[in-house]
């Protein structure tokens, strides 16, 4: 019959109208600032810097190699290298960024900085509430705003973070093993050397008696 479709449609909307008051399940929306949906795992918008441990300054993974700065297509990254060094996660002394700014008004979220970073130091964030009343200053994120803990990374991108953590742990293990091996070798070497040194020392002592200095003997001290 004619007009049947209209009545059917009216019935459907009426059901929705009443139903939305009766059952909460029908409501497809969330009330945003109070309730939020978890972003899906592949969400990404702007980069952030990862740090390990509790101290953002000490734990920053970035070694200020400036690859990302060079690769960034819109040139939104600005890095100033430090003059001194500090130990990284494996304990090796590295440079760190004295300044690390990203202008997110320029950033195009291409993720190239993440791809090129050899130190897993820069990753994509899911933070989207970036609105500000300062068009220029408010959209330049400095090192302190960019630094976010590894736990944050693990929360927003669990799979990727697990991979990264595993790789870093492996590397660290490798480095430690290497260091250990090196240390063992060094220890063996020192042992051998110390044995040698002993004989040398003895001979040196003998020599010292002649009045000459034992300065080279000090250099072999472990």
């Amino acid at each position: 019959m004619l007009g049947e479709g209209i009545l059917k449609g009216l019935g459907e909307t009426a059901r929705n109208f009443v139903g939305s008051f009766v059952s909460e399940d029908r409501l497809t929306t969330v009330e945003y600032p109070e309730q939020r949906l978890l972003p899906i795992e592949n969400t990404r918008d702007f980069p952030f810097l990862v740090y390990d441990g509790a101290d953002p300054d000490a734990g920053l993974r970035c070694v200020s190699c400036q690859i990302c700065e060079k690769e960034c297509p819109p040139k939104c990254i600005y890095i100033v290298k430090s003059t001194d060094k500090k130990p990284d996660y494996v304990g090796k002394p590295q440079f760190y960024p004295a300044r690390f700014d990203i202008d997110i008004s320029v950033c195009m979220s291409c993720q190239i900085c993440v791809e090129v970073c050899p130190f897993e130091a820069i990753k994509m964030d899911t933070e989207f509430e970036l609105s500000t009343d300062d068009r220029f200053g408010g959209l330049i994120l400095d090192k302190h705003k960019l630094a976010k803990s590894n736990e944050h990374f693990q929360r927003i991108h669990p799979t990727e973070a697990a991979e990264v953590d595993a790789r870093l742990a492996e590397e660290k293990e490798k480095v430690e093993a290497k260091a250990k091996a090196a240390a063992e070798a060094a220890a063996a070497k020192t042992a051998a050397e110390s044995a040698a040194a002993k004989t040398a020392a003895e001979s040196a002592a003998r020599k010292a008696e002649d009045g000459s200095s034992g300065s080279d003997a000090e250099g072999v001290k472990p």
Partner: protein, 400 residues
């Protein structure tokens, strides 16, 4: 306070307030009070309607709707008003300044004039003139010109297209609207809205003598509702401002307060046409059952008005927009013949009433004959048109 006093509360208030002034000024003061009443009440209902519409549409789409400003978002219109008042008023550089400025003003003034003869309660009508319905249609016709002014003066293709669509649509649907309304006028024997309401005032048993409860009245009411939707550019007839096609139609280039005026005009137009629909077919301020007459007449009117507004919102939440050719075909090939036939049926109703006498059997006979004619015409006409339209399941051959 007994129910009669309550019923006439506002009339008495107006009377007592104007009695405070010297005799010479009294008619003027009384008139101004009436105008103030209309200018205060209907925009307030408009404000309420905007938020209720958004909430209602939200609920129909399983959303919550605005709920941030004030309790349950009820203060949303105030926020909207502040926003539109403080926004920059942009006039395009090539626009026709004077016409661009006048268009919203003319629209709102014309629509407010329509309220002058709308009876909102017993003895509650600003101008009780003889040709009230004619005045309503006259000012309704002049809104078309203001819409054209708005669209043309903006020097924008979307505005002009929207305005031309609006004017074509309003002219086309004004014919069935008038013809549908004429039925009630014919039966009441008067063009005065108050007289039409009086004519529907009686009760049979507990049921009122509203025109909508007769075959021709029901058909007239249905035609009136459809034509009213088109006249006020409401969905599903919102082609003139179809935002997916024309940005915002004829008020694309309006911002700030002028935009708010257009918005106000649109909703006031909707409410006034709903008010006249109520007056013509739904017994105006009359109670729906004889045992409910103790409730004040104005309360009934506004209750019906809110119901009508809810129905408009409900339709908007349900129906998709028509296409231009469908719109025109519907007006000229379907609405017009049916409303003309309805006119004949109404005449036959009156004639049969005189011929058959006043027994119950005669009443039922008359009712059945008139209803059968209308239903038959409806089915035949619609079938024919649908067959000619050649409606098939939609093919997506261009999309694939």
């Amino acid at each position: 306070m007994n129910s009669a006093t309550l019923d006439q509360f506002f009339v008495l208030l107006q009377h007592h307030l104007s009695a405070l002034f010297p005799t010479v000024l009294q008619p003027w003061v009384s008139m101004i009070l009436g105008v103030v009443g209309i200018v205060a009440v209907f925009p307030a209902i408009f404000a309420l309607t905007t938020v209720l519409e958004r909430k209602g549409l939200g609920r129909m789409q399983n959303r919550l709707g605005p709920n941030r400003v004030g309790p349950f978002g009820i203060l949303q219109p105030i926020a909207d008003a502040i926003k539109s008042l403080t926004k920059e008023d942009i006039v395009p550089r090539s626009a026709d300044d004077v016409v661009h400025f006048l268009a919203p003003v003319v629209l709102v003034v014309a629509i407010f004039l329509g309220y002058a003869v709308l009876p909102v309660g017993r003895n509650m009508v600003l101008l009780n003139i003889d040709a009230g319905i004619l005045l309503f249609f006259a000012v309704g016709a002049s809104t078309e010109l203001s819409i054209f002014m708005a669209g043309w003066s903006s020097r924008n293709k979307y505005s002009l297209l929207g305005a031309m669509r609006a004017v074509a649509q309003m002219i086309s649907y004004e014919v069935p609207l008038l013809l549908a309304a004429v039925v009630a006028v014919m039966m009441a024997g008067s063009l005065a809205p108050t007289a039409i309401v009086q004519a529907q005032g009686g009760f049979t048993g507990i049921f009122p003598h509203w025109y909508v409860f007769t075959p021709w009245g029901f058909a007239g009411f249905a035609l009136f509702v459809v034509a009213a939707l088109a006249e006020t550019n409401r969905s599903p007839f919102d082609l003139p401002e179809g935002e997916s096609e024309l940005v915002a139609g004829y008020f694309t280039e309006y911002s700030g307060f002028k935009f708010a005026l257009f918005f106000l005009g649109e909703y006031l137009g909707m409410m006034s046409i709903a008010g006249y629909g109520i007056t013509l077919f739904l017994g105006g301020w009359g109670a729906p059952f004889s045992f409910l007459t103790f409730i004040p007449s104005w309360a009934w009117f506004f209750a019906k008005l809110f119901l009508a507004i809810f129905f408009f919102i409900w339709l908007r939440g349900t129906l998709p927009r028509l296409r231009q050719d469908q719109l025109m075909n519907f007006a000229w090939k379907f609405m017009l013949p049916l409303s003309l036939l309805n006119l004949c049926v109404a005449a036959a109703w009156r004639f049969l009433g005189e011929c058959l006498g006043s027994g119950t059997v005669a009443e039922v006979m008359r009712w059945l004959v008139c209803a059968a004619v209308l239903v038959l015409a409806y089915i035949l006409l619609a079938r024919t048109l649908l067959r000619r339209q050649n409606i098939r399941p939609r093919s997506y051959r261009y999309a694939d």
